[in-house]
Symmetry: C2
Subunit: 400 residues, 2 copies
């Protein structure tokens, strides 16, 4: 496929990326699939780095997901190897062996235990990974690795992404830096996405894991592009740095949330074919979980997504999507807003609804749909993008 | 919107429609939304007619669904009124009152109890139904009603359908005739679809209800166009005719299944923008229910549907959809066929897989995807259509 045009929803400004203290990085070309760009990334962490991970809930995960899910168990990490172009998924015993081979090569080059090596792969499914080429590249990268910003890594992990994604947040002296990739096959349980969060402070692995799990639920697991869940989804958080643990863990947790939230929004902004970012706020549900289910039902509805693409405040389709979610809802209490404009009130078209004003709002490229259920206090925010001809072209026209 | 081109998947031949003994029909134009076509249908049943119904599981159903769900409780029916163009959904107390008004008009004109009147509406959501105009039309139709085939009714209930849908099956002397409509917002729990099954024999209402429930689960509830569930979905079965009950109820049940199965396939064939009919056969699942969940996960995957549109036997996306279903599956036992061609075997690309042969198969307009899980004996068939630019144009471009 030709190079895709950059998403019109790309954020106008990204944070300035500084090197993460203690983190050594190198990127290169593995000679496997992509030409003329880096497609393999090696990160080397100082001794004492703790790690946490959240992975796809797919029942058919890729081999590197199996590997990394196991490798995070000990709570420590010394290296991360990511390749783009081949997901090493649905590759059977050969795929598991490829993980073993590449992890051993990294461990030998870095001088660490093999179970302190994390692996991620993204790209086509069902093709055997060229483990020797990736291993050779990793060995070269280990010799080149140096302290530098994550910008090169953010670019080397891209597949169909149209822009690299990173975010930074501070909690006192602690800096949280994150990068991620993902564009299609994006759905709860983390999309075809890889995300890496670096924290330049020592943190207990258990705290890091429970924080990452909570944060992922509200960020990466609350976006959807097309409801399809990748076999390779992985988010890893690394806490580097010796010295004292930060005093204010809550502030660090907030910074991790901030970074993941920004990255998740960027994934929706780079959704395949996206012309509008859609934020869905569900309020007044029975529980937060119920609100999220309803939010995802709206966000995954092709009829809602095509209506937004068509700049139509079609609240009938929103009602439909609320109804099909199967969660408690009272038709006659529903209120629906597009941006600041209430279009439906207590189960009826809002009599004050002015179609012209709402139509003007729908021409913007950031649309908020707010649904008030009027039952209890459950709430959730879900982000998605519209469904356009661009999505069909990217995913259906590649053979024609 | 302009008249849509007829689906290329329209069946080449439909059964010959004969009048149903005892059934009086009339169709007309209500003057409410559609011009130059019939949009309101009245069916009058002989005394002693039994009825069964299956309805949308939406938590926000339309008022006529509330009405008919209650009206089928007594097991008897004397009249059915259907209007196309306005769904009378999300219309609050006004919508319920509109049902009362129109049902009373029908009951007065036909000379029956008001709770023997069934109602269906399909069309836009959120607009008050013009109950007086519909009632007036019903009164005129009651005077005109005569024994005739269901062809006119099959046309008068259409909305975005590109062809009328009917099917006929025999069980000895008993004839089962069905009509339905539906094209978009088609998903399990019956799509934006209305379906009416007429049986020219007396049948106990309880038997009819349990048979219809079972049959709907495997037919109308096993198709999907876009995963969106309408607020108005309704299937009603009517058993007309005095005389003796049929001796072989099992054969009648089989004929009801046959009619519903054909109608369900026609709905998928008329899916918005469809260029290919996709039949998904899941075998070897833990249970039939598990097989159906996996089948629907494949059928609802935008990535699978766009791949089929692109004539690509992309089994990686099928693996992804199996994995995201959340049902028991063993990656390393999965086998996948496109038509007669096995492309994946025991979790790996089939070494004998010949891309050219499979590509030729993918150019046909009826594609079968078979997934063998290798776990137990659960199986299901799910039907859908591909996802094309046509779907986006129909659902997203109407304002542009």
């Amino acid at each position: 496929m030709d190079q895709l045009p950059v998403s019109p929803l790309k954020p106008r400004m990204l944070a300035t990326l500084e090197p993460v203290t203690g983190l050594k990085l190198a990127t290169g070309n593995s000679g496997t699939r992509y030409k003329g760009r880096d497609d393999v990334t090696l990160a080397i962490f100082p001794a004492g780095t703790t790690v946490a991970g959240v992975f796809t809930k797919s029942k058919c995960p890729g081999a590197p997901v199996d590997w990394s899910r196991k490798a995070v168990q000990n709570g420590t990490a010394r290296a991360l190897l990511v390749n783009a172009g081949n997901a090493n998924a649905f590759t059977g015993a050969v795929g598991a062996a490829a993980c073993q081979t590449t992890a051993q090569a990294v461990a030998a080059a870095v001088g660490c235990a093999v179970d302190d090596v994390l692996l991620s792969s993204t790209g086509v499914i069902g093709e055997p990974l060229e483990a020797d080429a990736i291993s050779a590249a990793a060995t070269v990268l280990a010799a080149q690795a140096a302290e530098q910003s994550l910008e090169g890594a953010a670019k080397a992990i891209m597949t169909t992404d149209t822009f690299p994604k990173w975010a930074v947040a501070k909690a006192g002296d602690v800096t949280v830096t994150g990068i991620c990739k993902g564009s299609g096959m994006i759905a709860p349980d983390m999309a075809t996405m890889l995300g890496y969060i670096m924290i330049d402070a020592p943190l207990p692995a258990e705290w890091l894991q429970s924080t990452l799990t909570d944060v992922a639920e509200k960020t990466f697991n609350s976006i959807t592009v097309d409801s399809d869940t990748s076999t390779s989804d992985t988010v890893l958080a690394f806490a580097l740095g010796g010295g004292d643990a930060p005093g204010d863990l809550q502030a660090v947790g907030a910074a991790i949330f901030e970074v993941c939230d920004q990255l998740a929004e960027m994934l929706a902004r780079d959704g395949e074919g996206a012309s509008k970012l859609i934020t869905i706020d569900v309020e007044g549900a029975q529980t937060d979980a119920s609100a999220k289910t309803i939010g995802l039902s709206i966000a995954n509805s092709p009829l809602v997504k095509t209506a937004v693409a068509g700049q139509d405040a079609n609240w009938g389709r929103v009602v439909m999507a609320v109804g099909k979610a199967g969660e408690p809802a009272d038709r006659d209490r529903l209120c629906i807003w597009f941006g600041p404009h209430r279009v439906a009130e207590n189960g009826l078209r809002d009599p004050a609804y002015d179609e012209e004003t709402v139509s003007a709002y729908m021409q913007g490229d950031e649309i908020t749909i707010r649904v008030e259920l009027g039952l209890a206090a459950g709430q959730a925010r879900v982000r998605t993008c519209d469904l356009t001809h661009g999505y069909i072209t990217i995913n259906g026209d590649y053979r024609s």
